[in-house]
């Protein structure tokens, strides 16, 4: 819409005296007018729209009923009120067949931004189709009786009425929420009759309907000279009014129930889907937390793992329990964080700067980092471990730091020495380095560095 095509914009303006003007002057002038158009579009001061590209789409948000007229206006560049006027006139002239065209367009043309029409949705709505067919048959029967009563004019609009009724039932049942709201809005004036005002209301209504019906049929069958001219029109109007008053509320009631039922169904489906997911993840975790209420450390780690999973579902759209296939350094660091947090009940504050694909060297670096992190989680006594990885063009560094009890590097217990040495060995075997800094009471920091391997800029390194 906002992007007028160059083909035939016919903007009004002082330099364009014929409002529905002839061919545009020239390319440059058109360019200039495009700018004016965009301005008018923004300011809202305009009578006609620019032509839109692409297939016809209903413009629901601009429409009065189904947005067909608004969509046509957007497509052709004509003023929407003009299109509407033309449609109404056409409906009168063609005895309603233009209205049929409108309703069918409503069914078949998707709304702007959607790819499915109401008709394609309605195909799977078997109850709706049955209802539409039933109503159509009922109408046909009614209309067959009409000529007997002398309401000959009704037969002229017979088929349009039948088709429109059936189509509107389908739209009502299969339209989206916005469309149903629009239809409800249209039906609002009729609602006055549907108020549940109890018996007196019904009696009044039936009384009025009966009077109208009698008057209508009276006019239709009477041959009195003075009302001869009124006969077909007036009689038919009165009979129709009688039917509307007598049956309208009941009819609207059915329609309302249908909407309510449809909504309830959608809501139930959504709830079931949500319930399944929540059960698989959150409820399981809550059950486990209840069973381990006496072990705060475990409760915390369960809650943390669940939080992470839930968040990746809500924000990243990853299904609970799924893993990414392609591994990068950052993903590897994240996995270390998750595993250590889940298994050892400590917080791992992981930060990565830059990222790259993993090769064998970097895999070894990650393995060493993992070992250092697990080591810190097990032995340091700190509840937070910092894990920092930085990818630079020449090397990748990882730092694992805790603020736990630390140790005296000169008097290392045998088990820890073993771990330190294994980290060291892992790194040096692949050309990297590992240093461990620690002091009693001041925590420990393991620094790991690995040169970037064959993958990137230094193909010479083996």
């Amino acid at each position: 819409m906002q992007n007028p095509t160059g083909s035939a914009p016919r903007p009004p303006g002082p330099e364009d005296t014929s409002r529905w003007g002839g061919p545009a002057a020239g390319w440059r002038a058109r360019e200039f007018r495009h700018e004016r158009w965009r301005e008018r579009w923004r300011s809202g001061h305009w009578a006609r729209g620019p032509r839109a590209d692409g297939p016809l789409r209903r413009a629901e948000e601009d429409g009065l009923v189904g947005g067909v007229a608004a969509g046509l206006a957007a497509r052709t560049g004509l003023d929407v009120s003009l299109v509407r006027l033309a449609l109404v006139l056409a409906a009168l002239v063609t005895f309603g067949y233009a209205a049929v065209a409108y309703v069918v367009a409503w069914l078949l043309v998707p709304v702007r931004g959607a790819d499915r029409s109401i008709a394609s949705r309605a195909r799977s709505d078997r109850r709706g189709v049955a209802l539409a067919a039933g109503l159509a048959t009922l109408l046909i029967v009614l209309l067959l009786i009409a000529p007997v009563l002398g309401a000959g004019l009704l037969t002229a609009v017979e088929w349009p009425l039948v088709i429109c009724t059936a189509a509107i039932v389908l739209i009502w049942r299969n339209g989206d929420a916005g469309e149903q709201a629009a239809m409800r809005h249209l039906a609002e004036p009729l609602r006055g009759f549907t108020g549940r005002r109890g018996r007196t209301g019904v009696l009044w209504r039936m009384g009025i309907a009966a009077v109208l019906l009698i008057a209508g049929t009276g006019i239709l069958v009477s041959g009195h000279e003075s009302i001869k001219l009124l006969k077909p029109l007036g009689g038919a109007v009165l009979v129709l009014a009688a039917i509307a008053i007598a049956l309208g509320p009941w009819w609207l009631g059915i329609a309302r129930d249908l909407v309510a039922e449809r909504r309830a169904r959608i809501r139930a489906e959504e709830r079931a889907d949500m319930a399944a997911r929540v059960h698989d993840s959150v409820l399981q975790t809550l059950a486990m937390i209840q069973r381990r209420a006496d072990q705060p450390q475990q409760v915390i780690q369960l809650a943390r793992a669940q939080e992470r999973e839930l968040r990746s579902w809500l924000f990243d759209g990853r299904a609970p329990g799924s893993m990414d296939d392609e591994m990068t350094l950052a993903a590897g660091v994240r996995r270390i964080q998750q595993e250590v947090e889940a298994r050892h009940g400590v917080t791992v504050e992981a930060v990565t700067v830059g990222d790259c694909e993993l090769d064998e060297d970097l895999g070894a670096l990650l393995a060493a980092a993992r070992e250092a992190t697990v080591n810190a989680a097990k032995w340091s006594g700190a509840d937070v471990i910092s894990l920092f990885a930085e990818v630079e063009s020449a090397e990748v560094s990882v730092f694992v730091r805790d603020r736990g009890k630390g140790f005296d590097p000169d008097a290392v217990p045998a088990d820890r020495k073993g771990l330190a040495e294994s980290i060291h060995a892992r790194m040096t075997r692949r050309g990297g380095s590992a240093t461990i800094r620690s002091a009693l009471g001041q925590g420990t920091e393991v620094s790991l560095t690995m040169p970037r391997g064959a993958g990137e800029r230094q193909p010479g390194r083996g």
């Binding site: 968040r311 924000f315 990243d316 504050e349 930060v351 700067v353 471990i385 920092f388 930085e390 920091e445």
Partner: protein
């Protein structure tokens, strides 16, 4: 460092909490305890702007995500009229572009919602005193963002080269923050004063807020996951 910090120094900092989750607000309130004075709460952009304009807290703990838009809307709306009110961003999502957006709007720092009570109180005090608060994660974001900016040496002309580059020392300080060092530990590491560390961090914050490089934004958008 004007009236706000003087007030903050003299007594408990006055804090407002803006978060759309009532449970989280009451959690923060109880964690802050009597260390600060909570003067207001709000759950969305519009109420927050009204509440902060009236209560005039020293520090606003601001959720990065609010139903009515990002937390940066609150900062932007109040920055001109109430420059003495300082903002500390809190976030659970950690999406870099959101964090960078709220920092660039004018927040003085960023911490994750999993921060411990004492650390949060410390961060509030620091922001109240006019300093910048960088969590390890924010330090990582900043290092990453500025590393992604092509440097002048690589032939990219820059409008203001000073704003688009971090100094070596600033980079080192950020790296240590990302590695989990406190300001005090960083000062010891480089044998400089803690005050100097604060200066470096504030300078990084200034560069982050003033750099006109739109690469910063693009970088943040590209790093959706972390």
């Amino acid at each position: 460092m004007s009236t706000a910090s003087a007030r903050a120094g003299a007594s408990r900092p006055r804090v407002a909490i803006v978060d759309d989750h009532g449970l989280f607000r009451s959690g923060v309130r109880s964690e802050l305890g009597d260390q600060v004075e909570v003067v207001g709460e709000a759950d969305d952009v519009e109420p927050a702007i009204a509440m902060i304009g009236q209560a005039l807290p020293d520090v606003v703990l601001l959720d990065v995500h609010l139903p009515g838009g990002g937390g940066q809307l609150v900062v932007t709306a109040l920055k001109a009229a109430q420059p003495q009110v300082r903002f500390l961003a809190l976030s659970a999502s950690d999406a870099p572009e959101d964090v960078i957006a709220v920092i660039r709007a004018g927040a003085r720092g960023y911490v994750t919602k999993t921060i411990s009570g004492p650390d949060l109180i410390d961060a509030v005090r620091r922001v109240a005193a006019g300093d910048a608060v960088f969590s390890p994660r924010l330090a990582g974001f900043v290092l990453d963002a500025f590393a992604a900016l092509p440097s002048e040496a690589e032939g990219r002309p820059s409008f203001d080269p000073e704003l688009d580059q971090l100094t070596t020392r600033e980079r080192e300080v950020l790296r240590l923050i990302a590695r989990g060092y406190t300001y005090k530990e960083i000062a010891r590491e480089f044998t400089i004063s803690a005050r100097t560390v604060e200066t470096h961090v504030s300078s990084v914050l200034r560069k982050l807020q003033l750099s006109t490089r739109h690469q910063l934004t693009r970088w943040a958008a590209e790093r959706r996951l972390i």
